[in-house]
């Protein structure tokens, strides 16, 4: 039995090393293959800096927008009962369940030159597709569910009694949210924001569809990685990839820290439920 356990542990770890650890190490090895000088040059090239700027810009717009959306949606969904709640949750989850390519395509079909609003936009000299607004829209689309998904399961398990108590004590809606609800979900909210940010900065499929292939205008960091990689500039590609990888590793560390903090409250694992498990009534998980 001990032998079997040792063997299986070894097999499991070897598998994880092959599929997770080696690719992770390869990123850094490739990035530094030609030394630190080449690395620094690659991440500070003007194209890379442009890409970093656009990536940060789209995250800076998408994350606060989806934060406000997430808070409002979680409040409406968990504190009130109304017809179509389950459907609403499914729709909020939609960006998670479809290919990111579709997330880009829908905006091309709506705002692109041949899209429904394309002629009108062209007449008013507004460009969305193959331009920065398109990147931002695609980023908002793919990151829409993150905050809601972290908040809803948690807020659903907590009853509304505390909010009702605060309401009876004369607190306004904002005061109830700010002083009663928020302190109970702050770690989940923070976690949702971290995931949302990481995803906003790393989005590739949707961004690549709306960005088109015009270099320099609409290139985010992941798109820049793709471009230089296809130009066989491996060091530059992996150097820029390390920036995104470090962001991902920081996300994982923060997740571990927040998980430990939240172990007691009903926390939902990172990837366990693609879906918000909101169809169930509060308290049924006990």
């Amino acid at each position: 039995m001990t032998a079997a356990r040792l063997l299986l542990t070894f097999v499991g770890l070897a598998w994880l090393a092959l599929i997770l650890l080696l690719p992770l190490l390869a990123i850094f090895a490739q990035a530094l293959a030609k030394g630190w000088g080449a690395y620094i040059a690659a991440v500070t090239s003007s194209e890379a800096l442009d890409a970093i700027r656009l990536t940060l810009l789209s995250a800076l717009i998408a994350v606060p927008a989806n934060l406000v959306f997430g808070l409002a949606a979680a409040w409406a969904i968990t504190k009130f009962e109304f017809r179509g709640r389950t459907l609403l949750l499914a729709l909020i989850d939609l960006p998670f369940s479809v290919s990111p390519v579709i997330g880009g395509l829908v905006f091309v079909l709506l705002y692109g030159a041949h899209g429904w609003l394309g002629p009108w936009l062209a007449a008013h000299d507004v460009q969305i597709i193959f331009a920065k607004p398109g990147i931002v829209l695609a980023t908002i689309f793919v990151t829409l569910p993150f905050v809601v998904r972290e908040l809803v399961p948690l807020m659903q398990v907590q009853t509304t009694a505390r909010e009702e108590a605060a309401f009876s004590l004369g607190a306004s809606g904002w005061q109830i949210f700010r002083h009663v609800t928020l302190p109970n979900v702050r770690w989940a909210l923070l976690y949702g924001l971290i995931l949302c940010t990481a995803r906003a900065m790393g989005e590739f499929g949707a961004a690549s569809v709306v960005a088109g292939s015009i270099r320099g205008r609409t290139v985010t960091l992941p798109l820049h990685v793709e471009i230089v990689f296809n130009e066989y500039d491996a060091v530059a590609a992996f150097a820029c990839a390390t920036l995104l990888t470090i962001t991902a590793l920081v996300t994982l560390v923060l997740k571990t820290v927040l998980d430990a903090r939240e172990r007691r409250t009903a926390h939902v694992e990172l990837a366990s439920g693609q879906l918000i498990t909101a169809a169930t009534p509060a308290g049924s998980r006990a």
Binding site: A165, S168, L169, A171
Partner: protein, 355 residues
């Protein structure tokens, strides 16, 4: 502060949680809403609190003569106490009590010094001053519920509403807190309504008891009235243990296994007779026309009381009699012994029992 509930109805989908409830709460009362789960008592309390609205054409709620049906809890100035306390876990005891005052803005803003002073007074009142800086998670259940009460009282409510306030507590703590709440109510004189499913709690604590069932008020009265004069079979059965004995009624006489009792209600045919176990007498010999034969099945001694289970020889079925130890000593009962039973007092309800 008096409260008038006028024909209040509340439906959840097709389910009628409240069906045209009329009720008057007098100023300074300590009123119990008593009933099994699903009887509508919690819904009624939530409507009083302003946390739930009656159906669109479902009646009015008035406080001190003013229609408050559409008013928020804060506008009604009601203090709420919750079964599971609903304390703000991230605030200290003092922070919880101060919450309502701190939330006041603009002209209603309360100066910090005054908040502190009032919190101190309330903590003294609920005997929690030494724990002012603790967090709710560091308190016992009884202490938490006292914080909940102090928090509700801090806004100087006109009415105090308590939802199963002792429901989450141990038996001993429950009894202590019950007594304490009664004293507190006597001291403050604030109009209070509490929900409970525990008849003992309602009878011990309340000045008046409202018994509810299936969204309707079954009876309103003092604890003595509802216990001694239950208005119907449901109230009878809900307010204490009872034997149900089937008999026949004709010409204002009740027949049970050959025994005859005079009836004061007009009933005929098969009737169900309700007898409390302590109203069932056990005698060694048949006596006049009011005893019926039974066989002893079991005798259990529970503290000062003897519970005697007997089976009716004619009609069948086991019924229970509660005897004092002295009564038991004079009988020398043993299993299988044939004795006779007599109902000292009983109830027969015309129209039968509601399901």
């Amino acid at each position: 502060m008096s409260i008038a509930i006028e024909d209040v109805s509340k439906h959840f989908g097709a389910f009628a949680a409240l069906d045209r409830v009329r009720l008057h709460v007098a100023s300074g009362e300590l009123l119990a809403l008593l009933g099994p789960s699903g009887s509508g008592k919690t819904t009624l309390l939530r409507i009083l609190a302003g946390l739930e609205r009656p159906d669109a054409d479902g009646g009015r709620v008035r406080m001190h003569g003013t229609d408050v049906t559409g008013a928020t809890p804060a506008e009604r100035r009601v203090g709420l106490v919750f079964q599971h306390y609903a304390l703000f876990e991230h605030l200290t005891v003092a922070g919880n009590v101060a919450f309502g005052l701190r939330m006041r803005r603009g002209r209603a803003r309360v100066p910090r010094r005054e908040i502190d002073a009032r919190v101190q007074r309330l903590l003294d009142l609920v005997q929690l001053s030494p724990l002012a800086d603790r967090y709710p998670s560091q308190l016992s259940g009884g202490q938490r519920q006292r914080v909940g009460l102090a928090r509700a009282l801090a806004i100087e409510p006109r009415v105090l509403l308590l939802d199963e306030p002792f429901g989450a507590l141990d038996a001993q703590v429950r009894r202590d807190l019950r007594r304490w709440l009664k004293e507190l109510h006597a001291e403050l004189g604030i109009t209070s309504v509490f929900v409970t499913h525990d008849q003992e709690e309602a009878l011990e604590l309340a000045t008046r008891v409202v018994v509810m069932h299936q969204g309707r008020v079954q009876q309103v009265g003092t604890p003595a009235e509802v216990y001694e004069q239950p208005a119907n079979a449901f109230v009878y059965e809900f307010l204490g243990s009872s034997n149900v004995i089937d008999g026949r009624a004709s010409d204002r006489v009740l027949h049970i296994d050959g025994a005859r009792y005079p009836l004061d209600v007009a009933a005929s045919g098969d009737v169900r007779t309700f007898v409390r176990p302590h109203d069932l007498e056990i005698v060694p010999e048949a006596n006049g026309g009011s005893t019926f034969p039974v066989r002893v099945r079991d005798v259990q001694l529970v503290g000062p009381t003897a519970r005697v289970l007997v089976e009716r020889e004619v009609g069948g079925g086991v019924i229970e009699a509660h005897l004092t130890r002295a009564e038991l000593a004079g009988l020398s009962l043993r299993e299988g012994l044939r004795v006779h039973a007599r109902a000292r007092s009983f109830k027969v309800y015309a129209g039968g029992i509601q399901p």
